[in-house]
Point group: C2
Amino acid sequence: MPAAVDVDDIDHALLRLLGVDGRRTFADMAGTVGLSTAAVKRRVDRLREAGVITGFTVQVDHARLGWGVEAFSEVRYAGSTNVTEIVETASRQPEVQAVYTVAGDLDALVQVRVRDLDHLQEVVDRLRRTGTVTGTRTLMVLGRWTRS
Amino acid sequence: MPAAVDVDDIDHALLRLLGVDGRRTFADMAGTVGLSTAAVKRRVDRLREAGVITGFTVQVDHARLGWGVEAFSEVRYAGSTNVTEIVETASRQPEVQAVYTVAGDLDALVQVRVRDLDHLQEVVDRLRRTGTVTGTRTLMVLGRWTRS
DNA sequence: ACTGAAAGCAGTTTCAC
DNA sequence: GTGAAACTGCTTTCAGT
């Protein structure tokens, strides 16, 4: 468990503002939260140093790039397989966006992004052949909603 | 399906650079991809206009904010429930980060972020009571790996 | 389409209070 | 935490290739 960090309502407001637009300026946010630019800068610096803010990134519409199909693959591995191995083998596939190791009868939930259904087929086949996979079940995403 | 967009290798490189650091400057990227600042600006502008870049955001370590538990809830709804309804009822819960409607015997995959196990219990109970849920199965995330 | 330079401007950063 | 000042350096434009 990471160290607890003191984060008040204004900090949360700043995080929310940066969530909507990660390039918002200190002066702009200062106006919104009712603080000075200097105070906002100090707070954001502090949030970065505390590890609350880990970075900034661009949001991309992958469908526009021709990668219009998204899916989750539930994967089961042989009992001997360890977690590190699971993540390493799955993340090696370029189509894999995220790997979640989970508790329960399932071992991992693998999020993939592919061009089309043929491509999905191929990726799932590839996943099944890697390491010590004993079974998969693929959930194709029809629609998605994401917070903010 | 969205309109196809012409995106060459340099555009991909720019997207990758912005993915790592969404605040990277045009001049900085220009040096890396071997183009002038002006050319990089025009390309990024074009990617925004084409809808490939949908925005910029901050990356937050939620565990540091005291929300250390993540889970996926697989949800089944009564046959009559439509997709819009599913997304609306689930996304109304503040702990819900994302809702994926999926093909198959399952109807939705709901990603939640909570403070602790008691909180998870509570959210799942709440989800089960909303709308026309007929069953859930919750996968608690033990570890995660995300691209880039 | 990209370059290079110049202008202008905005954001960051610092410091005394 | 404020406010102002100084600085930095980024964005933006434009003529030229």
